[in-house]
């Protein structure tokens, strides 16, 4: 029989084999008895002699089992089931230990899968680590720029490091009202992609197909003549749609492929539906072929392509980066006019993930580790208590010859069972927690945090958590093992037996070990609670601090007029003037305004030198006359914009207070002229308004505002101040826009408070997580204190009985015992407080000073924990003080 089948036989037919062995030994006794009877002994004497000859049946059996194939596995199983039996005998301990550890493992499994989903695998692409994004750089700014088509082609043709490259251009398209379900025009997110795009990412649609090469422009020598790119934004009228587009806008139609969509000016037929996991670039609704005309392809001045490349296997990003930079260098020499000082930069797709998200995840992971430490301390504490209770049992066993290794193995098996069960329970808790966390994320966030939409408990995290649970449980058992088997305990089991039942106060080594654990628990709990408190406080502040305007009862929506239908500034001006007129006449609206952000600029003040490169820029916006009143931004000096600030009148500007503080600290800015870089015109300052504050850092933002009429923008936000809930007016507000232009979609309509909630939802989620951690800490640490002081009181029952009998007052007993637990908790809190201050500093530095070091949080949390510790210590103390001395003296 081959060994494997023997192993299987031994494991599966365990019972039969055991019976067989049993019978074999019995038959041995029978045969020997018969032999002895023949030799002349009585039946009874013969049997006794036979049994003596057989010797230790269990030991023989054990040795036979030991030689069987799979003996080790079987032994493990026996030990584990023994562990289960012991745990079932002591369900209170088992439940508390498993649940404590499961909480610690649960938060860690959530943190692991968050790291996995958001940091390590934010995209579903199989070769994610080999996918790079490529950018152009200029000498002017350190930041990256999109790539021009001609440069992209040169990179693509000359590179040896990349298997393939693809180009993407994001754009918004209006979906014609005739094809939308609402019957209103809708704005959708589109991406024009070169034909190799899907192949590069290794993503294929479950239904339909992606683009053919001749639907893009990637293949060299393809005939592009006779194609008019001006009227056709795609080479062929084909479109691949996203899963969510198919689900919501096409109502999961089974016959979606082959249907037509009217997008912008053209009709497209649907050729494929991508899988749910795929939405790249983030939240893309439809993908169109990127069709470029020959003149587009030779264009080195329009930088509007995002370039992706997949590295050949074995090529490092550094080598590829060097190569692309060398190519860019050659292009500089070849095309000095357009490519002067244009470099190239390579960033891996993974590093493109939001760095702030990574830092939040890091903080949560660290906090989760603290929870696990705390949970582990609690389990270690429990195990020590257990070990003390079982000291006698183990002393007896070792006196009877039970090997130390065997005793240790059984204890380890027991904690391994705790580890396995806690691991499974923890992963389940973690998955549940993660699902809640994910469900709380507003969909608007998906496009900023890749991977969050598909976040789930992945297999690697689950396995890692269970392994961590088992390892953690084993580590937690070390103090107990040390106590049971350490030198003191083992040299003389007789000593232990004699010692057992004697008074062991706080000074004995085993309670010293437990005291240390309890101190550590208090310190960890304080650390976690402070972390949670700071995060919650930060989140509250983010929501409630004065942002420089009033976000309540304010509606915001956006409109982006297409260039094709709004060619002149006059047309844009007229559109917004009519829409604002309609909005302010709504019965429930108090004020309406339009605003559009412009690229930030540096300011040059009349009569002063030009700003140097790198000087701080100001935020620029173009706003309609009612803007400051609608937003409730205070006007500090001068006047508001009025309708008389027209294209023909003097260019004017309103600046915010911090611009004034910087440029005119002593004098009044009114009437002064300023210039913005890249614009020869001079603007007269007519007013000073309050600063808006950055939402995360709460820093005032220097800003300059220009009248909308003097700088009309096609893409603008419409703001509407309402007396009540602004969303009640959503439909009528939208209708105002359609009345002016029925083909014009409105998007991102929401209340300002919701927008703020979305932007701060990451911090909110972190605050929720940390609150959970804090609550766990608040549960575990007092439990540890309670269990230790109960134990100590139980140990001292006899002593306390004597004290009371000798006339000690109940109060003094209470004081004695409270002092004991108070000393431990106090030491823990003191250590914890120091650590918490360091933690707060660290959180603040990692999270860009978002986190405030709020002293009331420190004080409040310390008091809260001290109160819990007091209660946890008081209950056993109170019990001890009520001991009946007669009972106590009889107590062994």
């Amino acid at each position: 029989m081959p060994p494997l089948s023997k192993l299987l036989r031994n494991l599966i037919h365990r019972q039969a084999i055991e019976q067989d062995l049993d019978q074999e030994l019995r038959s041995y006794v029978d045969l020997v008895t018969a032999e002895k009877v023949q030799a002349g002994l009585t039946e009874q004497a013969a049997r006794r002699a036979a049994l003596i000859e057989l010797g230790g049946v269990e030991q023989t059996k054990e040795n036979v089992r030991g030689v069987k194939a799979g003996a080790l596995l079987w032994q493990l199983w026996v030990d584990l089931s023994h562990g289960v039996r012991i745990l079932r005998r002591n369900p209170g301990f088992a439940v508390v230990a498993i649940f404590s550890l499961a909480l610690g493992i649960g938060v860690n499994s959530t943190a692991f899968s968050t790291v996995f989903s958001l940091v390590l695998h934010p995209f579903p692409f199989p070769h994610m680590d080999r996918i790079m994004t490529l950018w152009e750089t200029t000498s002017k700014s350190a930041s990256r720029e999109a790539v021009s088509a001609a440069n992209y082609f040169d990179w693509k043709n000359e590179t040896r490091s990349f298997e393939s490259m693809a180009a993407v251009r994001e754009l918004n398209i209006t979906m014609n009202p005739t094809t939308t379900r609402s019957g209103e025009p809708e704005r959708i997110q589109a991406a024009q992609v070169s034909a190799g795009f899907f192949h590069l990412l290794d993503m294929a649609p479950p239904a339909g197909r992606t683009f053919f090469d001749n639907e893009g422009f990637d293949n060299e020598g393809f005939d592009n003549e006779g194609f008019d790119n001006e009227t056709q934004p795609g080479r062929d009228g084909v479109v691949v749609v996203s899963f969510s587009f198919w689900k919501t806008r096409l109502a999961s139609a089974p016959d979606a492929i082959g249907r037509t969509l009217v997008l912008g000016p053209r009709t497209y037929s649907i050729v494929g539906v991508m899988p749910e996991s795929f939405s790249y670039p983030a939240e893309t609704d439809v993908w169109l072929p990127l069709a470029l005309t020959p003149s587009d392809r030779n264009d080195r001045t329009t930088h509007d392509l995002m370039v992706l490349g997949r590295l050949k296997p074995g090529v490092t990003p550094v080598a590829a980066s060097d190569e692309v930079q060398a190519i860019a260098g050659r292009l500089q020499a070849r095309y000095p006019g357009t490519n002067n000082s244009r470099g190239a930069r390579l960033i891996s797709l993974v590093d493109e993930a939001d760095p702030m998200t990574t830092r939040f995840v890091l903080v949560l992971l660290c906090a989760a580790q603290f929870v696990l430490l705390l949970a582990g301390a609690n389990v270690a504490n429990l195990l020590l208590a257990q070990a003390t209770a079982r000291q006698k049992e183990i002393a007896i066993r070792s006196a009877l010859g039970g090997g130390r290794a065997r005793i240790a193995r059984q204890l380890l098996a027991e904690v391994a069972v705790v580890g396995i069960l806690a691991g499974c329970l923890g992963v389940a808790l973690g998955a549940w927690n993660l699902e809640h966390f994910r469900a709380a994320v507003p969909p608007q966030i998906y496009r900023y945090v890749p991977g969050i939409k598909m976040m789930r408990m992945d297999r690697a995290s689950a396995l890692l958590s269970i392994a961590l649970s088992i390892a953690g449980a084993l580590v937690c058992s070390l103090p107990a093992l040390y106590q049971l088997l350490g030198r003191r305990a083992s040299t003389n089991p007789g000593e232990t037996l004699k010692e057992f039942g004697r008074v062991s106060g706080i000074g004995s080594p085993r309670s010293r070990l437990r005291s240390i654990i309890v101190i550590a628990e208090s310190a960890l709990a304080l650390l976690l609670l402070v972390g949670a408190g700071l995060m919650v406080q930060t989140f509250r502040t983010l929501l409630s601090f004065d942002k420089g305007f009033d976000p309540s009862n304010l509606m915001t929506m956006q409109v982006a007029l297409p260039e094709s239908r709004y060619q002149t500034p006059e047309q844009t001006r007229t559109f917004y003037a009519r829409v604002l007129g309609g909005l302010s006449n709504l019965p429930d609206a108090s004020r309406a305004a339009a605003s559009s952000s412009l690229p930030p600029r540096t300011i040059r003040v009349e009569g002063r030198p030009r700003p140097l490169p790198g000087e701080p820029q100001v935020e620029m916006s173009s706003v309609s006359p009612g803007y400051f009143e609608t937003m409730k931004i205070p006007l500090r000096q001068g006047r508001h914009f009025t309708d008389s600030d027209s294209p023909d009148s003097q260019p004017v500007v309103i600046v915010s207070q911090s611009v004034v503080n910087r440029n005119w600290p002593q004098t009044s800015p009114l009437g002064r002229s300023i210039q913005f870089d890249g614009d020869p015109a001079w603007y007269t300052v007519v007013g000073v308004c309050g600063d808006l504050k950055e939402w995360f850092t709460r820093e005032p933002q220097p800003a300059a505002y220009r009248p909308f009429a003097q700088s009309p923008q096609r893409h603008a936000s419409l703001l509407l101040r309402t007396p009540g809930n602004p969303l009640n007016l959503a439909d009528s507000a939208r209708r105002q826009v359609y009345q002016v232009d029925p083909a014009q979609p409105v998007f991102n309509l929401d209340s300002m408070e919701n927008v703020i909630a979305q932007v701060t939802s990451g911090v909110g989620a972190a605050a929720n997580m940390m609150t959970i951690y804090g609550l766990i800490a608040l549960l575990l640490a007092p439990a540890g204190i309670y269990s230790l002081s109960s134990y100590l009181m139980a140990q001292r029952t006899h002593e306390i009985g004597i004290r009371i009998a000798l006339g000690a007052g109940r109060e003094s007993i209470l004081k004695l015992s409270l002092l004991q637990s108070g000393r431990l908790a106090g030491a823990g809190l003191a250590i914890g407080l120091v650590a918490a201050i360091l933690l707060g500093r660290w959180m603040s530095s990692v999270l860009d000073s978002i986190v405030l070091l709020d002293w009331t949080t420190f004080a409040g949390v310390t008091l809260l924990l001290a109160a819990c510790a007091f209660v946890a210590g008081y209950v056993p103390a109170h019990r001890a003080a009520r001991i009946d001395p007669m009972e106590a003296l009889r107590h062994e």
């Binding site: 029989m1 023997k6 067989d20 062995l21 019978q23 074999e24 030994l25 038959s27 041995y28 029978d30 045969l31 020997v32 018969a34 032999e35 023949q38 000859e53 057989l54 010797g55 230790g56 030991q59 023989t60 040795n63 036979v64 030991g66 030689v67 069987k68 194939a69």
Partner: protein, 111 residues
């Protein structure tokens, strides 16, 4: 060193068991008694080492076992040499002879 000594003894026991079973199949008591007999009372095999050895040999495929009836009509488990067991016996005997002569030389050389 103790561990090697055990190995030697264990190997000896294995060899004795295999040797005992060359003629006919036998049960545990029979094997123990025969070893006692053929070693002229030098080895007395206790069940505590006999059964683990029997099961170990069976596990390696050198022995087969089946339940049968003993000479005095009692149920007993009989062990039998397999073909692999016979080959193993050859090897073991060969090895043993080598060890034996080596030991003999060694002892003569030192004395």
């Amino acid at each position: 060193m103790p561990s090697q000594k055990t190995d030697l003894l264990q190997g000896t026991l294995d060899l004795l068991i295999l040797r005992t079973l060359t003629l006919q199949k036998d049960h545990g008591v029979g094997i123990a008694r025969r070893i006692h007999q053929i070693t002229k009372g030098t080895f007395e095999v206790k069940p505590g080492s006999l059964f683990p050895a029997l099961h170990r040999l069976e596990e390696r495929g050198w022995l087969d076992s089946e339940w049968g009836e003993s000479e005095n009509r009692r149920r007993a488990k009989f062990y039998e040499l397999t073909a692999a067991g016979r080959r193993q016996l050859e090897t073991e005997m060969h090895n043993w002879q080598r060890v034996q002569s080596a030991m003999a030389w060694a002892i003569e050389a030192t004395s």
